[in-house]
């Protein structure tokens, strides 16, 4: 009916958007995509301190399965990730409901939230010293001093030898709570006031307000927090490194820290890459799960100006 005369976009206009994303793309290419490929490549070599890599096929992976450290390390990783997740989420939930429902609009509610955010704002190197001090193995440590003054103990207890994992988890939880708290608080905040009023008119108890109104609206944020925190716990080892460096022995070494130590402490770069590939794989699967939860069509909006 109409002959469509196709107008060719001038070259200048075609490349215009790409100029904006070029610096970012270059960085991503060199420091994300390239390392990802290189990690896979290195995992099949025996690259070590001698810096002369040879292709060794799947030797590294065979070694992983016979590594006598591995059962303990996988156990550590699971305990660390699951406990940190469950406890921090529980507290995030309690704080959010307390400040956004019971104390909604109160100045103190804001104060509580601001205070709770502090552990995640403080640089981690400073944050960990607090925990180091509390559980310090000498008589100067807070708990030791306290217990000694109460007469409970006569000798200082070496907390880091006894419960290193518990301390690591505790420190992680306290600084992770705020992230979940923010998401949950804003979700609770978006519940219309009328819903509460209606529930009260219907004679609902506080318990049923929480279980029938608040918790259902938190379904998606909770799922998001679960997956994204799991990704963080499985892949990141900063607190562990600062607090215990994986010790004592390998009591607090998680899989990702193990990969780091193999590569940078023992210089088994090839083997380290192979171990980290497992972490990469777990993180990747979790990331894909996270992405599936999002509505991408809503995120991708076309330009409403045509050049």
């Amino acid at each position: 009916m109409n002959e469509l005369k196709v107008h060719k976009k001038p070259f200048r206009k075609k490349i215009y958007p790409y100029l904006f994303i070029m610096p970012f793309s270059l960085l991503v290419l060199v420091f994300f995509i390239l390392p990802a490929i290189a990690t896979v490549g290195m995992a099949f070599t025996d690259l070590n301190a001698s810096m002369k890599p040879h292709f060794v096929g799947i030797t590294n992976f065979k070694r992983i399965f016979t590594d006598y450290n591995l059962p303990q390390i996988l156990g550590n990783t699971a305990v660390f990730a699951v406990l940190s997740l469950v406890i921090s989420m529980l507290f995030a939930l309690i704080i959010s409901i307390a400040t956004q429902y019971f104390l909604k609009g109160k100045l103190l509610a804001v104060v509580y939230r601001v205070l709770w955010l502090i552990p995640s704002i403080i640089p981690s190197v400073v944050y960990v010293t607090f925990w180091k001090f509390i559980f310090d193995p000498t008589e100067g440590g807070l708990i030791n001093e306290f217990l000694a003054s109460m007469g409970v103990i006569s000798e200082p207890v070496s907390w880091f030898t006894k419960g290193a994992m518990a301390i690591v988890i505790l420190a992680t939880i306290v600084s992770t709570i705020s992230g979940g708290m923010i998401l949950l608080s804003s979700a609770i905040n978006s519940i219309p006031e009328d819903l509460y009023k209606a529930a009260r008119v219907d004679g609902a108890s506080e318990k049923s307000v929480i279980t029938k109104i608040i918790l259902p609206t938190l379904k998606w944020p909770l799922m998001y927090i679960t997956i994204s925190d799991l990704i963080g716990f499985v892949s990141s080892y900063f607190f562990i490194m600062l607090l215990t460096q994986g010790g004592p022995m390998r009591d607090t070494t998680t899989l990702s820290l193990y990969a780091f130590q193999q590569a940078f402490n023992l210089k088994y770069y090839g083997y380290g890459a192979a171990v980290s590939l497992i972490v990469v794989f777990i993180s990747f699967v979790l990331t894909l799960l996270l992405i599936r939860m999002f509505d991408f069509d809503q995120m991708i909006k076309p330009s409403r100006i045509e050049d």
């Binding site: 109409n2 107008h7 100006i305 045509e306």
Partner: protein, 371 residues
């Protein structure tokens, strides 16, 4: 003069169904005030955006005068535009907002500010020049938007629902002011609106759009009295036109429309072509074109009053036929003196020349012949 020739705008070039504008032709004379009117999704805003150059037509040609502007950038078109949200720059003062288009033309700052002040005076906001847009009321923001659009003396002024965010009273004032300003400046103006009252009141000609096509392009009074098709007839007017299914019959040289509830004799002067006889049609009558009839009137028919609504200026009476065979309720407007009540049976007739007959094609063409 603006000429749009067979404009097509497809959002997905492969599918015909995604055409926002589908073969649109329109000529707008210099200095004319034209409204694009239609329901949402009819393509009126898309057409305006193509005139502004923010969207590019898929095919067809747009001329400003003799100049083909299909791929001319908005900044090179010399247009002014007022948006529904006014789109004032929140980080700039009113003065800088009005001066913005001038500064973009490299006009010296002092001169641009002088002009901004002048424009501010014209739209009566010169005392607000140092404010930020967020400190203004909706009506004031609208004036600033007008001043900004007119500051650079544009050849064409485009208005995208400029009054839909104003309250009803203010709308009437602003409407008059815009019309006066446009006439004084002589700027060719195109307004997009979904408000028919506004379109009819303000413009020289109104183009009624539906499904990306122009249905009718005519002065307001003509649209009302001579709608070309069913869409235009039913879109315009409030309360809307009554549409009643019927068949054209001819007896003894007299044409009549037979509906399931009543019959109506077509006056001699309005006779339809013989080809339409025995064909189903839709009879269209506006509510104020029904009237009460004398007992003796041979072209009247009985109706039963179902409901009476008071509109203040008159009464809206809903009637059904006594045997309730008619599928549709008929609305008619009576003056306040007319004494009708629920359950009354009345005799009604249609004003001699004030009815329309539409065929049953998809377009629903008006079969009446207008000289």
């Amino acid at each position: 003069m603006i000429t749009l020739k067979n404009i097509v705008k497809a959002y997905d070039s492969k599918k015909d169904s995604s055409r926002a504008v589908d073969g649109l032709d329109l000529v707008i004379n210099k200095g004319e005030f034209v409204a694009l009117l239609g329901p949402s999704g009819c393509g009126k805003t898309t057409t305006l955006m193509m005139l502004a150059g923010l969207l590019k037509p898929t095919s067809g040609e747009i001329y400003f005068g003799d100049r083909l502007v299909n791929h001319v950038e908005p900044k090179d078109r010399n247009i002014g535009m007022v948006f529904q949200s006014y789109a004032l720059y929140p980080h700039l003062t009113v003065r800088d907002n009005i001066a913005f288009p001038l500064r973009e033309r490299k006009m010296p700052k002092a001169q641009a500010y002088e002009r901004a002040k002048e424009m501010g005076k014209i739209v009566q906001i010169d005392h607000l020049l140092d404010r930020k847009p967020s400190q203004l009321s909706g009506g004031q923001q609208q004036r600033v938007a007008m001043a900004r659009a007119l500051a650079k003396d544009p050849e064409i002024l485009l208005l995208d629902e400029p009054m839909s965010n104003l309250d009803a009273r203010l709308k009437l004032d602003v409407r008059d002011e815009i019309r006066k300003l446009q006439r004084d400046l002589g700027v060719t103006t195109i307004i997009v609106t979904h408000d028919q009252e506004e379109a009819l009141a303000i413009s020289d000609r109104v183009a009624i759009l539906n499904n990306g096509k122009i249905q009718q392009y005519a002065p307001p009074e003509e649209l009302f009295s001579q709608p070309v098709n069913l869409f235009v007839a039913s879109f315009l007017g409030n309360p809307p036109m009554n549409l009643i299914d019927g068949v054209i019959k001819e007896e003894n040289g007299e044409q009549k429309i037979v509906t399931s509830g009543f019959q109506f004799r077509i006056p001699e002067a309005r006779k339809l072509e013989a080809a339409h006889i025995d064909k189903p049609v839709k009879l269209g009558v506006r509510p104020h074109d029904f009237m009460l009839a004398e007992q003796t009137d041979s072209n009247a028919f009985p109706m039963k009053v179902d409901l009476v609504e008071h509109l203040g200026s008159g009464k809206l009476v809903k009637v059904i036929d006594p045997e309730q065979k008619l599928q549709t309720t008929i609305r008619f407007l009576a003056d306040n003196e007319t004494d009708v009540r629920h359950g009354d049976t009345i005799r009604m007739k249609i004003r001699e020349n004030k009815f329309h007959v539409f065929d049953m094609t998809a377009e629903g063409l008006n079969l009446m012949q207008f000289r």
